[in-house]
């Protein structure tokens, strides 16, 4: 039974002491929590400084080969040169925008296709039975090897990168949307039907909202995949983009350039992740705050 829990005798017999103590205790607890956060942040920064410092020092002392491993100061110099003087391909912003543009397009197409097909197969058993084996086979192909084929098909422009991103994004989104549609609470569906919902309404207003937490989980992973698809596509053959920057740096034995491109990519991915988390908070306002999101 879920009644009101009985009050403990201590609370009943010493109300005065309790009301006096509570704000004080809350205060102490808040201070402890703040201190803990500060310690975590400090140790984090320290760890970063130590790793970067060690890398720099070992590289300068030539314990590790600076030609292969570069060093943080060189990487930073490279990024700074790109920012101030532009890259061999044009301004850095343009390269970032090019890659991001391809990744975003691929991501949107992949997500839309994955969600639509996932929900459709989750709802229509016949479709799932017919297409299921084919999707499994396609999923077992290492899809990254399609990137060179796409370059052959669609040329050096953005289309081939978008295609690589789409095939990487599609599958995780599809499987999550499918699972989400399958695991909809049967009671909610029954309730909607009793209230008068048509099959279409059940899909749009019960199945899709229920599946959103599943879908969002895959969106996080899949944006990373979209970036990978775009980068690999550019690396194989392109006229602009971060992936081409990596390829060119590698071609001129500029290890610092490769690392610098990686740092820029990581920053882009982090920003995208932040935006996604923000959107997720907006979409899931209806969820209890402590449900793990």
């Amino acid at each position: 039974m879920s009644g009101v829990p009985p009050m403990s005798p201590e609370v009943l017999s010493s109300p005065v002491a309790d009301t006096v103590k509570t704000p004080d205790r809350a205060h102490t607890r808040a201070r402890a929590a703040r201190r803990r956060r500060a310690v975590v942040a400090a140790v984090r920064v320290l760890l970063l400084v130590v790793v970067l410092g060690l890398w720099e020092a070992l590289s300068r002392a030539e314990v590790i080969d600076p030609f292969n491993f570069s060093m943080p100061s060189q990487i930073w110099d490279q990024i700074w040169t790109w920012i101030t003087h532009g890259t061999a391909l044009g301004s850095l912003g343009e390269q970032i925008w090019y890659t991001l543009h391809e990744a975003l397009l691929g991501w949107v197409f992949g997500v839309v296709a994955g969600v639509v097909l996932g929900i459709a197969l989750g709802r229509i058993a016949l479709l799932a039975d017919v297409l299921g084996p084919y999707i499994k086979v396609l999923n077992s192909i290492p899809r990254i090897v399609l990137a060179p084929i796409f370059v052959i098909w669609f040329g050096l422009g953005p289309a081939s990168k978008v295609a690589s991103a789409v095939v990487l994004v599609f599958f995780p989104v599809f499987f999550n949307a499918f699972q989400g549609a399958r695991e909809v609470d049967r009671n909610l569906v029954a309730n909607a039907r009793i209230l008068g919902a048509s099959d279409r309404r059940v899909t749009l207003q019960v199945v899709i909202p229920s599946a959103t937490s599943w879908i969002f989980t895959s969106l996080h992973v899949s944006f990373g995949f979209a970036l990978i698809g775009a980068i690999v596509g550019e690396y194989i053959g392109a006229t602009k983009g971060i992936g081409l920057l990596v390829a060119q740096s590698q071609g001129t034995f500029n290890a610092g350039g490769v690392y610098a491109a990686m740092v820029i990519l990581a920053a882009v991915a982090l920003v995208a992740e932040g935006l996604l988390t923000f959107a997720e908070r907006r979409v899931f306002r209806w969820k209890p705050a402590d449900s793990g999101h």
Partner: protein, 271 residues
């Protein structure tokens, strides 16, 4: 038309056999004969797992009977109709919709214009005392409040037939009595015919005009008892009346035997 004089619900030799995942057949209910008159409040009691919920899903049209016939207002049931309201045992409010939006859902699904649907929904929210909570999400409500949302969302569709599957079983005892009283008030104005499933005999006598006792599973109707207690009733008071105690004893004699059979079977399964 005969539809006007025919009873609200009629089960004629209805039965339901499920296919189990292992490919076997499982009889959930069999040979159900039951009539619910218009405006009548019928409570169904029976041991756990005997087939009470299955009976309701047959009446609602969510499931089809594998034998016999189910009629609502004289017409055979074909799928989910627009006459029926159903309050489920488990929470079935939509967690991503606010309280108001949950209550608006039914009329909107049935094509009522938005403004009118909102107006009706607000009126029912006022009746269940949730006006101040219309912007909350279900997870921000207590169990009792969520049940009130479910009641408002059901009543807002003006159902002629109201099916309730142990609607208050998850609530604590005080809330349950309160909700029962509120249900009586809400129902009194509607003229709906009610089938109220419960495993709580006291609750069934306090609420109903007629108590139907089901046998151990696969269930069929064992006995029907008329409850002559005058209305309006207050759940907490009516159970103290001598007449109530007498009826309780009489029905328990019938129901207790089925409960014992179910329990012994359970023990045999464990052994």
């Amino acid at each position: 038309m005969s539809a006007d004089t025919s009873p609200a619900i009629e089960l004629r030799g209805a039965g339901k056999i499920f296919k189990t995942p292992s490919g076997g057949l499982h009889t959930a209910v069999r040979d159900l004969d039951l009539t619910v008159g218009r405006g009548e409040f019928v409570a169904v009691v029976g041991p756990t797992g005997c087939g009470k919920s299955t009976t309701l899903t047959l009446v609602s049209g969510l499931e089809e009977p594998t034998e016999g016939e189910v009629l609502v207002a004289g017409e055979p049931v074909r799928g989910v109709g627009d006459k029926v309201g159903f309050v489920f045992q488990q929470d079935a409010t939509f967690p991503w919709r606010t309280v108001l939006s949950n209550v608006v859902a039914g009329p909107r699904f049935r094509g009522v214009p938005k403004a009118e649907a909102k107006e009706k929904a607000r009126a029912w929210l006022a009746r269940v005392g949730l006006t101040a909570f219309e912007d909350r999400y279900p997870h921000q409500l207590s169990g009792g409040q969520r049940k009130r949302v479910a009641l408002a969302a059901t009543f807002v569709n003006d159902p002629e037939i109201l099916l309730m599957d142990e609607p208050f079983s998850a609530l604590d005892v005080q809330t349950r009595a309160l909700m029962s009283d509120e249900l009586m008030e809400l129902w009194a104005g509607t003229g709906a015919s009610v089938v109220f499933v419960t495993h709580d005999l006291e609750e069934s006598i306090a609420l109903a005009d007629k108590v139907v006792v089901m046998t151990a599973g696969p269930a069929t109707v064992k006995q029907v008892f008329d409850i002559g207690l005058p209305r309006p009733r207050k759940v907490e008071e009516v159970r103290l009346e001598p007449q109530f105690v007498e009826i309780y004893r009489e029905i328990w004699e019938s129901l207790g035997e089925e409960v014992r059979i179910t329990r012994e079977r359970g023990a045999a399964h464990v052994a």
